[in-house]
Symmetry: C2
Subunit: 336 residues, 2 copies
């Protein structure tokens, strides 16, 4: 085991090495996903397929596959489990779209817009159940414990986020708790279960958990930064959604705490929902730029990306480790 750190930063990190590393296994995962989202009730594959074939990056199952490469796992159990992870993620996206009243998801009309809230809630429930059926078929109680625990934490994080919505006094600490739960818990679990199927020791299992968790935090931080980044090239959701929903994300928390009295007045009104026009959004983006809040949110993300990379430094250098390290760099740099 070498403890060396893979050098940061790289000019333009991409997800390509990770995609190449996992491409073949991902075909198997996709086959499981397609097979297991079927149902005799035609609305289920129609609705699930709308989102599942909607161009997501499959980042979470990719973590399971990459982790398996990292630890030299040679079986195929991780295919079903990675599909299970993607089903859990898809279920939460469907429910999120209902909760947020989203119009767009991955650049297409959100499922709730096309199929309505009722079907979207219920198909989410179906996929969630299917996720557990896949885990049960695999038969590892340890994996079941990790993923059922993560699911409960995700739901807690989502409820917590809802409670913090339109609450201008939300602290960076609380925000970090929320994104750790709603996003990073599944990244951590997805990554960790690769060590479980490979029967790694506890330290390796924890290392993969830490990698996923820190990567998840970095990923969400940058997601939240992009929503206020006027230079952002990558746009998964409608820019300004967080603003209009009064979500207290880090760019807002930083701009509010650094702002003068007039700025704070603006944020208080905006987060309360009294200023949500396009001009107001432009003002928000202006203030966030003025106080370097996008750049500093990325800076925070860089910290977690470094921790993710360090976490896997207990494993010997390999193509897999390099790809996973570059994925962490990519998480920070994307959207530039």
């Amino acid at each position: 085991m070498s403890a060396d750190i893979i050098p940061l930063p790289k000019a333009r990190p991409t997800l390509d090495p990770m995609l190449a590393l996992t491409a073949q296994d991902m075909n198997s995962v996709n086959a499981v996903i397609l097979d297991r989202m079927q149902s005799e009730i035609p609305l289920i594959p129609a609705l699930a397929g709308h989102l599942i074939s909607g161009g997501g990056k499959r980042l979470r199952p990719m973590l399971t596959l990459a982790g398996a490469e990292l630890v030299g796992y040679h079986g195929s159990r991780h295919h079903k489990l990675a599909a299970s992870v993607e089903f859990i993620h898809t279920a939460t996206l469907l429910h999120d779209d209902v909760v947020d009243g989203s119009d767009l998801r991955r650049g297409k009309a959100a499922a709730n817009i096309i199929f309505g809230n009722p079907a979207t809630v219920l198909v989410g429930d179906f996929l969630f159940s299917r996720a557990f059926e896949l885990m049960v078929e695999d038969g590892s109680l340890k994996v079941l414990k990790i993923l059922s625990g993560a699911s409960a934490i995700i739901a807690e994080g989502e409820v917590d986020q809802l409670t913090a919505q339109r609450q201008i006094e939300t602290s960076e600490e609380r925000y970090l708790n929320i994104i750790s739960a709603k996003t990073a818990a599944l990244f951590a679990a997805a990554s960790r279960i690769s060590a479980v199927v490979a029967e790694c020791d506890d330290a390796q299992e924890r290392a993969l958990d830490d990698y996923g968790r820190n990567l998840g935090v970095a990923f969400q931080l940058v997601d939240d930064a992009i929503d206020y980044d006027s230079d952002a090239a990558e746009m998964g959701k409608d820019q300004g959604d967080d603003f209009r929903e009064g979500k207290m994300t880090l760019p807002v928390i930083l701009a509010y705490s650094r702002g003068n009295a007039a700025d704070r007045k603006f944020w208080e009104a905006a987060i309360a929902g009294h200023r949500s026009s396009d001009d107001d959004l432009a003002e928000a983006i202006h203030l966030i730029a003025k106080y370097d809040a996008v750049e500093d949110t990325r800076q925070r993300a860089r910290h977690y990306a470094h921790r993710a990379i360090d976490a896997i430094s207990i494993f010997p250098d390999s193509k897999a480790r390099q790809a996973m390290a570059e994925a962490a760099q990519f998480a920070v740099a994307r959207g530039y």
Copy 2:
């Protein structure tokens, strides 16, 4: 093993013997429920508690407890599992209220009315995850398979019901498929897992599954009859909800198929949502009474109740068997 059938009907069957049979164990189940619906996010126990302490009969966990009595199980594993069953049920109720836009549940304002749809969806997800955590703690993959399978079937049934909504051509066959999935699957699973923890043989496990499944069908049939029964004493939900939502339940299916041309015109308009006033509801109740559709729906329920009672006739006569038989009679007679 005697194959005798406990005599039907009894003047006024009640749930009392079943309640008495399971009272002590139910205290333990309630303790698990209260303990495991807690969270550091205060909105979660507040919302979950609104429904959980809202006077439900705890019928599904009661099936697990009664089944355990029937087969002479003396451990305590069924307490956690019965709580898990109730959490799955509670999660589906919360999501149902969002799906149906319900105003009332168990005679109180529905959770979605007090806490809003977003929180109601997410707390449902939380309880669903907690249900799986409880099963994982118990550690039986067989139980996990039964309950994850039931959960997927419930979701399919709910989606199917949604698809059949406002479709006047829905057949009795399709209606039975829907209620078998959305209601009876969990009754069957709740009952069956008692045989699993007691390590019964396959025939006994199947018998308990059959008991629960038939009871569930009977129960849902009567639920749907009560919604159009002008004499109904028991009112869990708003009378007329099914009518206004255009749900194709058996009373409507029977009245429609038996009606004359004018009646059918009425039903077509009503189920399509064009006739939903109080006068229209009164007309619906009138037509359903005219064609004996409530009484015949109860008659159908009686058939399933008999099958439930026969299913457990493979077990020797006991207080438990008698209580379970009377519960099946009660399922048919309630609301009178």
